[in-house]
Amino acid sequence: MKTMQYLKDVVTLQLNRDKCTGCMMCITVCPHEVFQFKDKKAFIQNRDQCMECGACAKNCPEGAISVRSGVGCAAGILNGLLKGTEASCDCSGTGSDCC
């Protein structure tokens, strides 16, 4: 199967390598193998694979990662626009839960 890739050069993911201590939490929690371990520190290898879920930033003890996280969901963004709030989907069962 071809890999599914979304739009290029749009994600807001930033890594400050100076702050990184190489704990590898970002590598552990990332569902899309965005990070790699290079020279004892994390490195953004596949930026365009990032879906801005925010798991890496949330779990970085050093606060070295920043990303504007949210749902990549058109219906959620429309909902937010209509209600004047942040994008939020009303999903309750989507996402892969098991094989």
């Binding site: 890739q5 929690v29 899309h32 879906m51 925010g54 779990n59 999903c91 309750s92 996402g95």
Partner: protein, 341 residues
């Protein structure tokens, strides 16, 4: 809701804990099918708290889950044959990944649940296994700091839990990666199909009413004569966007979902035309209208997909929504003209 999954109780130092089955009953299976078809989704939850799998003791593993019953069902089935604890958080009946995004599957909620269930007294060790997809809502270092429990992130899929344990509580890169296989995409389609049903009915209603227009004004018999091509086109445009585009996702050119949908909307109209004898203008009008519908419907699958980002979807919507509105408007105008010439 029936609670057939509770099969007994297990005694602990702080009282009894409900013991749950690792097998799915026929009613579990039936409600899973129903929930996949979008009925009864809103009350599909499990009571928060601690549950026992087998006969766990103070050294057994603790698995954290959401209180969406489908998440809970997959977890307990994956733990078949083991002695373990399951800590269910109150996520308002929403699955782990979405709840983590909404911050109900969260650091605070884990800390609160650890306290409420007196976990410290029941269990000797200080480790909890949290599904990796819960990570957007959980800061492992804060859980450790505030509760004393270390978070070990488990695999993405519950069915990888046993290999994960055998691997020394380490998820391999493949266990950590979210895929989006044909089977996974197919499972999500029924819900999406039901989601847009009212919008679809409005689109069909509009096109049916417009079908009644002719040079002399409006007649119901014209609807019956000419409405079938229109209704078929709209219905298939919807299916092209919601069923065909997701199934063919990796094989369809372009990265933007709106464009993928537009391609399948075009194909669908071209195919439908073969079965009807319609004027070119009528066909072009329905083409514009159908592309708009298929594109919009496909764009909605960004929410179900496992790889789209908020920034990406916003960028896509910025140019695609005006185009979708324009295509729908051109389609309707051409359609009316085709009825009058």
């Amino acid at each position: 809701m029936n609670k057939k999954y509770i099969i007994g109780t297990v005694d602990t130092v702080v009282g009894t804990v409900n013991q749950i089955s690792t097998l799915w009953s026929s009613s579990d299976l039936w409600s899973t099918i129903k929930v996949r078809w979008s009925t009864g989704r809103m009350n599909y939850s499990v009571k928060q708290g601690l549950y026992a799998i087998g006969t766990p003791n103070a050294d057994s593993d603790i698995f954290v889950s959401a209180n969406y019953k489908l998440s809970f069902d997959h977890l307990r089935r994956a733990l078949h044959g083991m002695n373990a604890w399951v800590l269910v958080l109150d996520t308002k009946g929403i699955n782990v990944w979405c709840a983590a995004g909404k911050k109900t599957f969260s650091t605070e909620n884990i800390i609160k649940s650890i306290k409420n269930t007196s976990l410290e007294q029941i269990i000797k060790h200080r480790k909890i296994i949290v599904p990796q997809l819960g990570a957007p809502g959980v800061a492992a270092h804060e859980v450790k700091e505030k509760s004393g429990f270390s978070v070990i992130y488990g695999p993405v899929l519950a069915c990888d839990i046993k290999p994960f344990i055998e691997n020394g509580y380490k998820a391999t890169p493949s266990m950590r990666k979210v895929n989006f296989t044909l089977k996974e995409r197919a499972k999500l389609i029924p819900v999406d199909l039901m989601y847009g049903k009212y919008k679809l009915m409005i689109a069909i209603g509009v096109i049916l009413i417009l079908s009644g227009i002719d040079k002399t004004g409006f007649s119901f018999s014209r609807i019956i004569e000419t409405g079938s091509f229109s209704v078929c086109s709209v219905l298939w445009a919807y299916i092209a966007g919601i069923v065909i585009t997701p199934l063919m996702l990796p094989y369809t050119p372009f990265r933007a979902f709106a464009l993928k949908g537009a391609i399948w909307g075009t194909v669908s109209t071209l195919v439908i035309k073969q079965f009807f004898n319609v004027s070119n203008l009528n066909f072009i009008a329905l083409g514009f209208f159908s592309i708009s519908i298929a594109s919009f419907a496909a764009m909605n699958f960004t929410g179900s997909s496992t790889y789209t980002s908020l920034s990406g979807v916003k960028k896509e919507m910025k140019w695609s929504i005006p185009l979708q509105i324009a295509f729908a408007a051109i389609g309707i105008i051409l359609f009316i003209i085709s009825k009058l010439v």
